[in-house]
């Protein structure tokens, strides 16, 4: 926890993360972009639709997480030609060795040769969600105590306490929490708090047909993710875990990912830091500035009195 040495006093004060913490492991190598998670989330949590928009951004008309969108499936098309959002992406992976299994599935003529992934490009799909940070900025800055740490280690908004001040919105380093237009309250993924209370999986994990979204004990998920990464890294050299490191800027995510490219290609921050990590120094600077203001007034008043 060396990263947080000077912050423990404030950043830790508001909550404790329980030992037996629940989380998500979203394995994007398995995501087929079906958006079942988005739909299941909306249905279970009774979230309004986002409107019938056409973004012309691949197969994604949802675009981003929001007050009524607590799961968002990103579609990234990486084509050989520089098109779309991936120009800054990692070089495309080398042609995978396609042995009998997949080749026979595709019933390809052997004379055509292996599939040319480098010239075909690839699709990346990933279901984004609230990270349920170990050190959650939204929770720290919430002035009403509407945001709380649940017994599952998740971060949850109490809808009957939030007064819509909006401070959590720019505080989140991932741009997750947002205003829900119809209620005016801050809203985000609760990891289906109500379902967890009844021993059920969150709706998104339950509906995911490929187990790209895995739910469970966070320590178990982390172990599983390490294993999975070791398995896929030969085929996808750019594969990486994102959010599994307890020493990162938010103390590790409660919902972490296996990605196939740099985080920012998926719209995720490369090196997120909980803003309250710097709050002790911010308070110190503020106290000095207030003191300076007072001293300036006192000093300037010398010799201004009436004779």
């Amino acid at each position: 926890m060396k990263t947080f040495d000077d912050t423990a006093a404030t950043a830790q004060a508001t909550y404790d993360v329980p030992e037996d913490r629940m989380g998500f492991f979203t394995d994007t190598t398995l995501c087929i972009g079906c958006k079942a998670c988005e739909v299941a989330c909306k249905e279970w949590n009774e979230l309004q639709e986002d409107g019938y928009n056409f973004t012309a951004e691949s197969y994604d008309n949802t675009s981003a997480l929001g007050g009524n969108t607590w799961r968002h499936v990103a579609f990234i098309e990486q084509l050989p030609r520089p098109v779309g959002p991936a120009n800054d992406a990692e070089p495309l992976p080398p042609i995978p060795e396609l042995d009998g299994g997949v080749a026979s599935l595709l019933d390809r003529d052997a004379s055509v040769g292996p599939m040319q992934f480098d010239t075909m490009g690839r699709w990346l799909m990933s279901s984004d969600v609230c990270k349920h940070c170990t050190r959650a900025a939204c929770l720290d800055v919430c002035p009403t105590g509407a945001l709380v740490r649940s017994e599952f280690g998740t971060v949850v908004v109490q809808d009957d306490v939030c007064n819509g001040c909006g401070y959590c919105v720019p505080a989140c380093p991932f741009g997750v929490i947002a205003e829900q237009p119809q209620s005016g309250h801050a809203a985000k993924c609760t990891m289906c708090y109500d379902r967890l209370r009844d021993g059920e999986k969150p709706a998104c994990a339950k509906s995911c047909p490929t187990e790209s979204i895995q739910f469970g004990n966070l320590d178990e998920l982390r172990a599983r993710a390490d294993e999975r990464l070791a398995n896929v890294v030969a085929r996808f050299p750019t594969a990486r875990l994102y959010g599994n490191d307890e020493d990162d800027g938010v103390g590790g995510f409660g919902a972490f990912f296996l990605l196939l490219d740099k985080p920012h290609v998926y719209g995720l921050p490369p090196d997120p830091i909980v803003t309250t990590r710097d709050l002790p120094s911010i308070w110190r600077t503020t106290a000095y500035s207030a003191l300076a203001l007072s001293l300036l007034v006192v000093t300037a008043s010398i010799g201004t009195g009436k004779a």
Binding site: A13, T14, T55, A64, A74, I76, P85, N87, D88, A137, D140, V141, P143, T144, G145, C162, N163, C165, G166, Y167, V169, P170, A171, C172, F174, G175, V176, A178, E179, S183, G184, H185, H264, V265, Y266, G267, L268, P269, P270, D271, P272, D278, L279, S281, I282, W283, T285, T286, S289, A290, L293, S294, L296, V297, V298, A300, S301, T304, G305, K306
Partner: protein
């Protein structure tokens, strides 16, 4: 920068949803907060005219501030939830308590001043208001710095001083308008000092932010507000010499000083929105930070 820095160029963080009320509150709270030390300094120098002018300004500030803050809440009837808890990790929570404490003391001091009742109580409240005023004028800088918005968070070492300078300049400018020139020497001094502090710390801030993270100050609304702030501040200072002998010039200088502080707050407020809405300000520094860390580790 032509390379998209995120998913279809969409923002990585969410911009504040705060409307103009909050930008205005940054100014009003600062003016009210910096007015009370002036009240106390004026009392100490037997300058009741100036004290009354600044107390009046603080009083107007505590009436307007809650209105602005509550108006911006998406669920205004729950404004009282702000005082449900006290959280040192939330500058907004701390600020709500500061405003409450400050407001109560200013109200008592002003009521006593204008009714002539319970003067000792009024003067005690005045001292408490003077002690909490600078906190009210500067906590809003901590509030902005304590976000993921790069142009605010990265300015955390200077922003409180910028706010202190701006608040002082606006409070003194306001006093300048309502005080006869014979009693306004302190107001003239502080208006000048405040403007200088604000300008100097802003320059320092821009230097630290650098060309990329500081870019929003050169864009759109933020840049326009900044230009007006610069111009009115320069004019206000230019008129300060004349303000010593001419009430009209003093009023003009005061109005210009107030306009400058107001526009400076809005410039900072708008810069935050621009900073959050373009992913490059979030992503590029983080990539550089990570690369640097990885280079050090290896």
């Amino acid at each position: 920068m032509t390379t998209p820095m995120s998913y279809y160029g969409r923002p990585v963080i969410k911009a504040p949803t705060w409307r103009w009320y909050i930008g205005a509150y940054l100014f009003v709270g600062g003016l009210a907060g910096a007015s009370t030390p002036i009240v106390l300094a004026a009392r100490a120098t037997r300058n009741d005219t100036l004290a009354r002018a600044s107390l009046g300004a603080a009083c107007a500030g505590i009436v307007v501030s809650p209105i602005l803050l509550i108006a911006d809440l998406r669920d205004p009837k729950r404004f009282i939830n702000m005082l449900r808890v006290f959280k040192i990790t939330s500058p907004m929570s701390v600020g709500s308590w500061i405003l409450t404490f400050f407001g109560a003391n200013v109200a008592v001091a002003a009521a006593s001043e204008w009714t002539g009742i319970a003067t000792p109580l009024g003067r005690t409240a005045e001292v408490l208001a003077a002690l909490s005023g600078p906190a009210l004028a500067t906590y809003t800088a901590a509030l902005l710095a304590d976000t993921a918005v790069p142009v605010w968070h990265d300015a955390r070492h200077e922003l409180p001083f910028v706010f202190a300078g701006g608040a002082l300049a606006s409070a003194a400018s306001c006093a300048l308008i309502f005080t006869p020139i014979a009693d306004a020497k302190l107001a003239r001094r502080l208006a000048t000092l405040g403007a200088i502090v604000e300008f100097a710390t802003l320059e320092r801030m821009k230097k630290r932010l650098g060309p990329l993270v500081g870019e929003p100050y050169r864009l759109g609304g933020s840049s326009r507000y900044k230009q007006i702030a610069r111009m009115t501040s320069a004019l206000s200072l230019a008129l300060m010499r004349g303000a010593k002998g001419n009430r009209t010039l003093a009023i003009a200088s005061g109005l210009l000083g107030i306009t400058s502080a107001l526009c400076e707050r809005f410039s900072i407020f708008e810069a935050g929105k621009l900073s959050a809405n373009d992913p490059k300000y979030t992503v590029a520094p983080q990539l550089a930070r990570r690369a640097q860390r990885e280079a050090q580790a290896s």
